[in-house]
């Protein structure tokens, strides 16, 4: 039996297969009839890509029809190339190149010859199409923008490239796919599912109706409509304020983590990246390496956070119990921590306790409390790592885990970083070597969205929601745990009150006292961040970045934002003014201080930005 079993199985299998072949090939004649010059044309029915709305239901993006000229190389017959080229306004070389490419891709599968014709071009071509065997027209939809703003948020769509086609079989030559921003991040929701129609042809290549009565056909499923968290009006206003400046504005709703605005300047109109003009426009934007309009400064720009970071320094010191809010520190135009080492400060009253310390942004105060927080531990390594733990709980030094298609980590230096930098254990280093951290200078860096999130965490007294751009899909509010569950910082709730009061005093009597808004209690913090660039191989200091973080109202905050103006000099000069206007616009809807608005609209920093490229010596901080 053991010897025979396999013989039996093999022979049985052979008999079954021969029986099956007999059934398929001889007994059942329907297959033969089906394949009588069976030829099936596959047509794709492209669904409407989902529309995008802003948080107030304003329509931002819809679709417009566009037409691709497709070719199936093996169905080509000789044709009048001259006429064809003149209709489509292309050169003969271009046509030949495209046809060759299509033939290499596949002689049987359609390829795109000319993508994205307009309606008019299509109308003209449509009449002549019958002359050109092997070509046909595929309808698709392109994006139609109802806004001139938020191009960096929305992203754009473009034809899939060969790499993507290979990676995901859903996409075919000529298909469109989201390449950046919301379009990329929510591609699967927006694109829908294309329908497939199989048309049976007879042996004269004529359509004779759906293959198998449409048994294998599928209907297209339309893409889902998205509602994003952006407030288009606020976004537009912010972009207007940012004209002739470089930098970013990120505004969040601290109670939900929704991104109200995400502005980068300079920017471009989204409609520039639609259809056939996308490619040259993109190239132009991409190669503008000086103002870099495609670089989303709000999420990718890493800058030293500057003085706004002092709020965190204060919170950590309170949490570690190394200071209480009544203790005052002297400041003699700075803080001396070595024979020749001094952290400078501007002129103000002295000594200061915590609340006026924040209001006046006194460097000496924060240097003192910072060193105490670190020196509490036996070694500076332990001290720094404990400090890093607190800082990172505010979402700094790592990707936020948001749903934007790009981002940067920023940097929060830990003990490993300093050990490497100072070549430990060969050389020792002490807490004073890291003292710039106290005031947000030195190695530490953060993106504007990280700072906005940090501000939101302060506004909420100890927790934040991960910033996100998606609000609803097809009208259904999102239910993504990462975005709906608060993330707690390592600082206890009670420590926030003095810091928030200090940030409020910034407006009442401190560095931003000229920027108050009637009836709104704002809390904010100015920042003036030193920065350097390399000109002809020499490290050169540029005019300081102007930074401002704020939230309002003080109790029950509705908006938390960061304004970052490259080379805008001191914090309240540009960033503070813009932040104040943005808050008023969002909360009140109108601007009462038109003189302030005019000042921002009429002032340009272009001259400042030209300095490093002028090739001549220049002065900074003027």
């Amino acid at each position: 039996m053991r010897k025979l079993l396999l013989y039996l199985i093999i022979i049985t299998t052979g008999v079954v297969f021969i029986g099956r072949l007999f059934y398929l090939q001889i007994y059942n004649t329907s297959f033969a009839a089906l394949s009588e010059d069976n030829a099936i044309k596959v047509l794709y029915d492209y669904p409407q890509r989902g529309a995008i709305y802003d948080r107030n239901g304003k329509l931002l993006v819809t679709n417009q029809p566009s037409y691709d000229v497709m070719v199936i190389p093996r169905e080509l017959k000789p044709f009048d190339t001259l006429e064809f080229c003149s209709i489509l306004k292309i050169t003969k070389e271009k046509l030949n190149k495209q046809l060759k490419k299509a033939r290499i891709y596949s002689p049987r599968v359609p390829s795109v010859v000319i993508p994205q014709l307009t309606k008019d071009e299509y109308a003209y071509l449509q009449e002549k199409m019958r002359k050109f065997d092997g070509f046909y027209i595929q309808k698709r939809s392109l994006r139609d923008y109802h806004t001139e703003n938020a191009a960096n948020v929305l992203g754009y769509i473009a034809e899939v490239n060969d790499g993507l086609i290979k990676k995901d079989p859903y996409y075919l030559s000529g298909d469109l796919i989201g390449m950046q921003g919301v379009e990329k991040q929510y591609e699967n929701e927006l694109r829908g599912i294309k329908g497939i129609k199989r048309i049976q042809k007879d042996r004269f290549n004529r359509d004779i109706g759906p293959y198998k009565n449409g048994k294998y056909d599928t209907l297209p499923v339309n893409g889902k409509d998205l509602t994003i968290t952006i407030d288009e009006e606020l976004q537009a206003y912010g972009q207007k304020l940012m004209v002739n400046k470089r930098g970013g504005i990120v505004a969040l709703d601290p109670s939900t983590g929704e991104i109200l605005t995400l502005i980068t300047a300079p920017n471009y109109k989204p409609e520039l990246l639609v259809g056939r003009k996308r490619s040259p426009n993109y190239t132009r934007l991409h190669y503008d390496s000086i103002s870099r309009p495609l670089f989303d400064r709000g999420v990718k720009g890493e800058y030293p956070p500057g003085s706004p970071f002092k709020a965190i320094t204060a919170l950590i010191a309170l949490q570690e119990g190394v200071v209480d809010q009544r203790e005052s520190f002297f400041c003699s135009h700075g803080f001396r921590y070595g024979k020749k080492a001094k952290l400078g400060c501007h002129a103000h009253a002295s000594p200061l306790s915590m609340i006026p310390g924040i209001a006046q942004s006194c460097n000496a105060y924060f240097a003192n409390v910072y060193l105490r927080s670190i020196n509490k531990f036996d070694t500076p390594q332990e001290g720094i790592d404990n400090w890093v733990k607190h800082v990172k709980s505010f979402g700094l030094g790592n990707y936020l885990g948001n749903d934007l298609s790009s981002g940067s980590k920023g940097l929060v230096p830990n003990s490993n970083y300093y050990n490497r930098k100072y070549n430990y254990p060969k050389y020792k280093w002490y807490s004073t070597a890291t003292i710039s951290n106290a005031i947000g200078q030195g190695e530490i860096s953060a993106t504007p969205i990280q700072l906005a999130n940090m501000t939101a965490a302060i506004a909420n007294r100890g927790y934040f929601y991960t910033p996100h751009i998606i609000k609803a899909v097809d009208g259904q509010p999102i239910d993504i745990e990462n975005f709906t569950k608060p993330k707690y910082t390592t600082i206890d709730k009670e420590h926030f009150e003095p810091v928030i009061e200090g940030m409020h005093q910034v407006y009442v009597q401190g560095t931003a006292n000229a920027l108050q808004i009637k009836d709104i209690e704002i809390c904010g913090k100015t920042g003036t961040a030193e920065n350097f660039t390399i000109i002809n191989g020499k490290r050169t200091q540029l005019t300081d970045h102007s930074v401002f973080v704020a939230f309002a109202p003080k109790d029950n905050p509705k908006i938390a934002l960061t304004v970052f103006i490259e080379n805008g000099y001191w914090g309240s000069r540009y960033a503070g003014k813009i932040a104040s206007l943005m808050i008023e616009k969002y909360i009140k809807g109108t601007i009462s201080r038109t003189d302030l608005e005019d000042w921002v609209l009429t002032h340009s920093l272009e001259e400042e930005y030209a300095k490093p490229y002028s090739g001549e010596p220049f002065k900074i901080n003027q």
Binding site: L6, T13, G14, L24, N38, A39, R74, P107
Partner: protein, 417 residues
């Protein structure tokens, strides 16, 4: 190669091999040529590449015949370990083709180590079973044999290439031949039956049905003092199995796997076009009639309607262009080869050679059953090649190596001891 060895080579097997490879190539040519001129240097065409693969497999044949028989036995373990390492290496250096990381890429040539792992595993299991110490009816030896077989399969599954891993079921045949208890056969067959029943009906109904049947059996046999605890245990095991099958099917399988099963089981009306491949392949075969449309005349084949026709679906080209006669001939060639090999395996004087021979038969048989079953619409879609027939260098070499090691072992049987 000594003269005596050449004289003892089983030329019938070699002839069957040559017929299959040659006929296979004709069909690959038909399935993949376009309108172009035949040019031996045009490496972009599968049928040209396959010619080179066939040429290189001659080199493999010569090498396998030149190596001493003892080598295979002595180094079986080492070869096995090397092939395991090459499978593991894929996770680090593998190249992703069509979503599966099954390939090493050497410039234009790709190598698929899973195709060679079969031969290596066959050698290893032959070596293990032929060891004097091994007793296949001892549990820990069964476990070890199982481990030898399962390891390569486990490394292949996550590539992901579950089809190639399925082939390792073939090693059941040599184990059974060498005395593995028939109980395993019964358990295996029952598990397969339960699997299909569970998918057809809900697990609850299956369990209830079996419990009812068992209860009836118990009542009928109650006078013989049945062992109730065993019945209970059986019910528990079956319940666990059915529900875990249900769970795995719904939660571990991907939708495309589920679709393939459901379509073959007739559970799901194929309205989404998932069975398109198989449907097209059946049309191609069905349209062949008695004698087919003639070589290179297949309209389905030329129309390019059957996806992957020159690889996994090559048998549909045979059916269309050579008709019932051609397709039946191929089936008979395969059955003939398998029976001849089985006969050769039985006449071996050493256990090593016999186990290896049975492994070869098992592996070729599983490939044959699954592939032809899939192409003719009898089995769910599982992408594995038809031995010697399908396009692909690694596949052809793997099967050639597997077969000709056995031919060498067989040729040398008289010289041993």
């Amino acid at each position: 190669m000594s003269r005596s060895t050449v004289g003892t080579i089983d030329w019938l097997t070699v002839l069957l091999f040559l017929l299959l490879v040659g006929f296979g190539w004709l069909n690959i040519y038909s399935a993949s040529y376009g309108d172009e001129q035949f040019s031996i240097t045009d490496l972009s065409k599968p049928y040209i590449k396959q010619l080179y693969w066939i040429g290189l497999s001659v080199v493999i044949i010569v090498i396998t015949q030149a190596i001493e028989t003892k080598f295979y036995e002595r180094f079986a373990g080492l070869i096995y370990v090397i092939s395991l390492v090459s499978l593991l290496g894929l996770f680090l250096f593998g190249k992703n083709v069509n979503g599966a990381t099954s390939w090493y890429s050497f410039g234009p040539v790709g190598l698929q180590p899973s195709e060679f792992a079969k031969a290596a595993t066959a050698l290893a299991i032959a070596k293990f079973l032929s060891d004097m110490q091994t007793n296949i009816n001892r549990i820990n030896h069964q476990l070890r044999a199982f481990l030898i077989i399962a390891l390569p399969a486990l490394f292949i599954i996550p590539q992901p290439d579950p089809g190639s891993a399925l082939v390792y079921a073939a090693f059941f045949f040599p184990l059974y031949r060498e005395g593995l208890a028939a109980m395993y056969l019964i358990i295996g067959a029952s598990a397969a039956a339960l699997f299909i029943l569970t998918l057809l009906f809900s697990p609850l109904w299956v369990v209830l049905g079996i419990a009812l049947a068992m209860t009836l059996l118990l009542i009928k046999n109650r006078k013989q003092k049945p062992k109730y605890s065993r019945y209970l245990l059986a019910i528990i095991v079956i319940t666990g199995f059915c529900f875990s099958v249900n769970y795995i099917f719904n939660n571990v399988f991907e939708q495309r796997h589920r679709d393939r099963f459901n379509i073959v089981l007739g559970k799901e009306v194929d309205s989404r076009g998932i069975g398109y491949n198989t449907n097209q392949s059946q049309i191609a075969i069905g349209s062949g009639g008695w004698v087919g449309k003639g070589w290179k005349e297949g309209t389905q084949t030329k129309g390019g309607f059957v996806p992957e026709q020159h690889t996994d679906y090559i048998f549909s080209t045979v059916g269309e262009e050579w008709g019932f006669l051609g397709a039946t001939t191929v089936v008979i060639l395969f059955v003939g080869l398998l029976i001849r090999l089985l006969y050769l395996a039985e006449r071996q004087k050493t256990q090593f050679s016999r186990v290896y021979g049975y492994s070869v038969v098992g592996i070729l048989f599983i490939h044959f059953v699954i592939n032809v079953g899939m192409v003719t619409g009898l089995l769910p879609t599982v992408g594995i090649p038809l031995p010697f027939f399908s396009y692909g260098g690694s596949g052809l070499w793997g099967f050639t190596l597997l077969l000709f090691i056995f031919i060498k072992l067989d040729a040398n049987r008289v010289n041993e001891w």
